[in-house]
């Protein structure tokens, strides 16, 4: 039962945007069932996947997420009837856009996890964590964040150091 902590060179930051009715409850169920999964995921609770703005995904990557999980109720199970249907289209479009921009979609996972699917939550969170761990850090947005227009660049060792510190 006692899983030994493995030492990895890189522990990814995973942020999960979940709806309160299904996936959040599913994650709770994983807890009450004492299932085990990697500790990398940070959950942000929304009322519904319908509330999840693509900007949040973008922002998460910009702010240092190495992987993003978006999860809600199965089609037809939405507490608000149709929020997840709207979300499904929105995210289908957004992921196509991110792909076209050049973001590796392996870092962005969408799933339906119901309140009864504690096991599926564990599976989804574990899979994404392990996949992103294998991919390594999401360098693109972090590097971009450290870049300046040439005219604004100054000779600051701190900035250079910050840039070098991007894993």
């Amino acid at each position: 039962m006692h899983a030994h902590k493995e030492n990895h060179d890189f522990e990814p930051k995973i942020i999960a945007f979940v709806c309160t009715w299904c996936t959040y409850a599913g994650a709770d169920l994983a807890g009450t069932s004492r299932m085990q999964y990697p500790a990398n995921t940070r959950v942000v609770k929304f009322p519904c996947t319908g509330r999840i703005d693509p900007v949040f995904i973008l922002r998460a990557f910009q702010k240092g997420a190495d992987g993003v999980l978006v999860s809600g109720c199965h089609p037809g199970d939405c507490h608000y009837m149709a929020g997840n249907f709207h979300a499904r289209r929105r995210f289908a479009a957004f992921r196509a856009l991110l792909d076209f921009i050049g973001v590796d979609l392996q870092r962005l996972q969408f799933s339906w996890v119901s309140a009864a699917e504690g096991g599926k939550w564990v599976e989804v969170a574990t899979e994404l964590t392990e996949r992103v761990r294998a991919l390594g850090p999401m360098r693109e947005f972090k590097e971009l964040e450290a870049e300046e227009q040439w005219s604004g660049v100054i000779d600051t060792p701190e900035l250079q150091e910050a840039y070098n510190n991007i894993p």
Binding site: H2, T20, A27, G31, A39, K63, G83, A87, E117
Partner: protein
């Protein structure tokens, strides 16, 4: 700068076993804006809440983060505590470091680090929390009960007796449900019909109950206190107001050979029929699928013989809209069928039991109809194939139930008891007969239950064989039962005259569709989910909707009635108030910025968005903006995610709150 208080709960050892709670509190204290941070054994306890209230006053806190269990568990508790400390309850947030952390991680260092990160995230959020004032909405003191079995009947009667109007909707032509089909009931062996029918009549006669039988729920809109339901009243082809229930139509109907489903197809009924003699209402219905008139237009006898002229072949389904304030869902169960299941169904049939093709292999409910005094045989136990009295009956328990390989892993709870009852009923009627029961183990917790089961063995001479049945097959006029007796460790073969299978209790087909209409959640078997397994066993997570009976999970009659009364009590609690406070998690439009593209209106699942005209003092139209009706808004926030300029914002889940959380990554 904010003055946030952070309270880290040990939850006994539930959290502190894997999370270094003191460290989490110490880390929290270092976050700018945190004025106070501490840890405590049980934050939800009275002293724990007292600690919180005291800290609010002493440290002039303007926001609170309780790092403990899931907000689904105790958010209300702590928000109430915050409120009584004089803080707006919406300035209190929970950091879920139990279900999402201590219970799912074993490494102490990792779990502690994660707990601190979760706390930091929630501190960031609470800084952006706004004071919200609950919205008051009127309560429509009228309840909808879905399902007219014993659960629905009990709930409807209780609510109606309390003086509130009830709309009871039943899918079948009569109320009564499964209990009306039963013979005697355990553990007292009183006649089911005898205790059931008076209640059915009470429903029919109750001035506060509007009964819609042969009806289904078409649509549900609205929210707690203010639902709007649409009932599809299926065409009965009989005008209820005119029908006197004389029964001439059924007697004269030339079409008489339709299998009687109420009797589990053991007998026949005409095309115009009442399901059983004690039906409520005692109004027949025309089975259009089998009626000659509807098949080829060549009959019309019932119309001719009906004195009051109640037969209406042209009748159409009617949609009735009813406002209700609360909903009790009591849609009951159905039995697992051993027949071959359609492809893709997670439930599997029993090929080894002949897939339901052996006529003398029946299920428990069929046995009930055989044993019932009002059943097709008048209570005489005979076998379906040749009408002979069976001398050796084998009962098999756990068919489908507790059989993961058959698609169901739960226990159906009632089978041990009803099988014991069946052996007794059998013995009472066939004195020289022998009952055998194959069982895995006997589950008889309940008042007088174990005594009852012992009686079946000790006094009524039922032979209980612990073991599983591997195969059933027809041999001559016998059914050979092959099984094992694990106590003795031998294979057993019994040549039975009749085999009764205690098949699993399952939710009604279509339970998922109804749940989707209601917006309630259900488990993988489609049993409806209660809000909390222990503390909210009657409530759905969706406010204003309550559960009663086997639709939530297998239950016997006493449990079902208890839960139905509990659901009724919840409804009455709700109806005790004229107005209801609801969470102010609703969308608001920033009218300055709104350009009325109305994307919000297009995506709103509630139809809560309207167009609003802004006029100057002279009454000239300046512009049109969107307006969200807070009473109708369900709070999903789909509007905000769709609004290009974010001119509509969901209170409690603002962009500022979310972005602040993301910022802490």
């Amino acid at each position: 700068m904010s003055r946030i208080g952070v309270f880290v709960c040990h939850c006994g050892e539930n959290i502190s076993r894997t999370v270094d709670v003191e460290k989490v509190a110490a880390e929290a204290a270092r976050i700018p804006g945190v004025a106070y941070a501490t840890d405590y054994k049980y934050m939800c306890s009275d002293p724990g809440q007292g600690l919180l209230k005291k800290a609010v006053a002493e440290h002039k806190l303007d926001g609170i983060v309780v790092a403990a269990c899931s907000p689904r568990m105790h958010e209300k508790t702590f928000r109430n505590a915050a409120k009584s400390a004089g803080l707006n309850p919406f300035l209190c947030e929970m950091a879920n470091i139990r279900e999402h952390c201590s219970w799912v991680h074993e490494d102490r260092e990792e779990a502690t680090e994660k707990a601190s990160a979760i706390v930091e995230m929630m501190v960031a959020r609470v800084k952006k929390d706004r004071k919200l004032v609950p919205i008051t909405v009127p309560v429509t003191k009228r309840a909808l009960v879905i399902g007219g079995g014993i659960a629905g009947i009990q709930a409807a009667l209780d609510i109606a007796d309390a003086g509130h109007r009830v709309v009871l909707v039943e899918r079948e032509p009569s109320i009564g449900g499964h209990m009306a089909q039963l013979s005697e009931t355990f553990p007292t062996l009183d006649c089911s019909q005898c205790i059931m029918t008076p209640k059915m009549v009470d429903v029919a006669n109750h001035p506060n109950i509007t009964l819609h039988t042969y009806s289904e729920i078409e649509a549900v809109e609205g929210y707690i206190g203010n639902f709007q339901i649409t009932v599809r009243k299926k065409a009965r082809s009989v005008i209820e107001e005119k029908c006197t229930g004389c029964g001439v139509c059924s007697a004269k109907c030339p079409q008489k050979k339709i299998p009687n489903t109420f009797d589990k197809n053991l007998g026949f009924r005409p095309a115009i029929y009442v399901p059983f003699p004690q039906a409520v209402p005692n109004t027949p219905v025309i089975d259009r699928e089998h009626c000659t008139r509807f098949i080829n237009g060549k009959c019309g006898v019932c119309q001719k013989v009906c004195g009051p002229g109640a037969i209406d072949y042209e009748q159409e389904d009617r949609l009735i809209v009813e406002p209700v304030g609360a909903i009790v869902v009591a849609t009951g169960f159905e039995l697992y069928s051993i027949s071959e299941k359609p492809k893709g169904s997670p439930i599997k049939g029993y090929g080894e039991f002949g897939h339901g093709t052996i006529p003398d292999v029946i299920d428990g409910l069929t046995f009930e109809r055989l044993a019932s005094a009002s059943g097709p045989t008048g209570g005489k136990i005979i076998r379906p194939s040749d009408g002979k009295e069976p001398k050796q009956v084998v009962f098999v328990q756990c068919v489908g139930s507790r059989a993961r390989e058959k698609g169901i892993s739960y226990c159906s709870k009632i089978c041990c008891m009803y099988t014991a009852k069946h052996t007794m009923l059998y013995k009472h009627k066939v004195h020289d007969g022998q009952a055998y029961v194959f069982f895995m183990d006997a589950r008889t917790p309940g008042k007088s239950y174990d005594e009852f089961w012992r009686r079946a063995i000790e006094e009524e001479e039922a032979v209980y064989i612990r073991g599983m049945v591997s195969r059933l097959y027809q041999k001559g006029d016998k059914v050979v039962v092959m099984g094992s007796d694990v106590h003795v460790g031998v294979q057993v073969e019994i040549e039975a005259d009749l085999v009764v299978l205690a098949t699993a209790v399952q939710p009604r087909a279509g339970a998922d569709t109804l749940a989707q209409k209601l917006g309630i959640s259900y488990d993988s078997y489609h049993f409806y989910s209660e809000a909390h397994a222990k503390l909210k066993p009657v409530e759905c997570a969706t406010a204003g909707i309550y559960l009663a009976g086997a639709c939530q999970g297998p239950k016997d009659i006493p449990d079902t009635v208890s839960q139905a009364s509990a659901a009724a009590a919840k409804v009455m609690t709700l109806f005790a108030r004229d107005e209801l406070e609801r969470e102010p998690i609703v969308a608001k439009v920033n009218e300055r910025n709104c350009v009325a593209c109305l994307y919000c209106k297009k995506v709103c699942p509630y139809g809560a968005v309207e167009e609003k005209e802004i006029r100057d003092r002279q009454g000239n139209l300046i512009r049109v903006v969107a307006y969200v009706n807070p009473g109708v808004c369900g709070g999903c926030g789909t509007c905000q995610a769709s609004c290009p300029s974010k001119s509509v914002e969901l209170d409690g889940y603002t962009d500022e709150q979310i972005m602040a959380m993301i910022e802490t990554l």
